[in-house]
């Protein structure tokens, strides 16, 4: 197609800067990975302790949500620019999905 463009201006100039930036970003990735592992451990630990279901269930769901946010924003780069359409559609899908789940947990009740 004729109307294609690149997102970088002059590759030679910003090259070094980019390399450093992406190395830095990679460090963030490792940190978020450690956090995710930690959250997983906490979730498994909470279940292993056999506490009250009223506490454990919301707690592990919360941990799962936090973990998924890490996945989406760091591993899948949704924090980067140019992800407006992806986030719009992902969240819309999530909304529809959550309504479905809510329905199935409330009005299919017998």
């Amino acid at each position: 197609m004729a109307n294609q463009q690149t997102n970088s201006g002059n590759p030679r100039v910003d090259h070094e800067y980019r390399r450093r930036k992406s190395a830095e970003e990679m460090r963030y990735q490792v940190v978020s990975f450690s956090l995710m592992i930690f959250l997983t451990l906490v979730a498994f630990g909470a279940v292993a302790m056999k506490g009250s279901a009223w506490f454990t269930v919301p707690f592990i769901i919360l941990l799962a949500v936090v973990q998924v946010v890490f996945q989406l924003y760091y591993f899948m780069h949704m924090s980067h620019k140019g992800h407006e359409a992806p986030s719009l559609f992902l969240y819309s899908g999530l909304l529809v999905g959550l309504i479905t789940i809510l329905t199935f947990m409330t009005i299919i009740w017998w």
Partner: protein, 208 residues
């Protein structure tokens, strides 16, 4: 910039996954597809939650009788780690380091295969305990949800291997970089789904 063009470390763009129109379309289209997949898995989760522990006779095992922490934990670790290794692969892709990228994708595939192995082992155990696809609505819903995810992992594995074999000899270019990138998105998404599976199916199942 044409897709087939031979590029160097210097001319490699910052966002090789989105630097041609084809790549941009692929990128956007795949994200939209993931939006649809979100609804697909939500529907399966919803069905599972509605049918959880619905068995025709009380002698059949329920969620709390079946699931065990250690095995789930191992599977989770395998898949989470594979998510990190595919991040490394993309990192190397952006650095125009083809060999390292291939190495990390190779590790990702190995971890994925190990995950699948653990799932097969797990399912075999359940079947022996009388928890079958055809024995109850609970069984049907469980195997459909977890199996759909397993199917996604298996498909991802095939995809990854095809990509690696096909591109083994030709190095990185703007034609295949978006393909690798999109695969990594897919792989992370599988991981996202698994986070909810281990939380909602396994952990919540064990809580009761």
């Amino acid at each position: 910039m044409h897709a087939e063009e031979k590029l160097t470390y210097e001319s490699w763009p910052a966002e090789p996954e989105r630097s041609t129109l084809e790549a941009k379309n692929k990128f956007t289209g795949f994200w939209l597809f993931l939006g649809g997949e979100t609804v697909l898995f939500s529907s399966l989760f919803a069905t599972y939650l509605a049918l959880k522990d619905k068995v025709p006779d009380s002698s059949m095992p329920l969620a709390k009788d079946l699931f065990e922490l250690p095995l789930t934990f191992v599977a989770t670790m395998l898949l989470l780690t594979s998510s990190l290794t595919s991040v490394y692969a993309i990192y190397q892709m952006k650095n125009f380091n083809f060999k390292k990228m291939m190495l990390w994708f190779g590790i990702t595939a190995l971890l994925g295969a190990a995950f699948l192995g653990s799932e097969v082992y797990e399912f075999t155990n359940y079947v022996h305990e009388g928890h079958k696809f055809t024995s109850s609505a609970f069984g049907s819903a469980f195997y459909t949800l977890v199996g759909f995810h397993g199917g996604h992992v298996a498909f991802g594995l095939m995809w990854c291997l095809t990509l690696m074999i096909r591109n083994a000899k030709r190095g990185l270019n703007l034609y295949n970089a978006p393909k690798f990138y999109v695969f990594s998105l897919y792989w992370h998404f599988i991981d996202v789904v698994w986070v909810f599976i281990f939380s909602v199916v396994y952990l919540m199942g064990m809580v009761g």
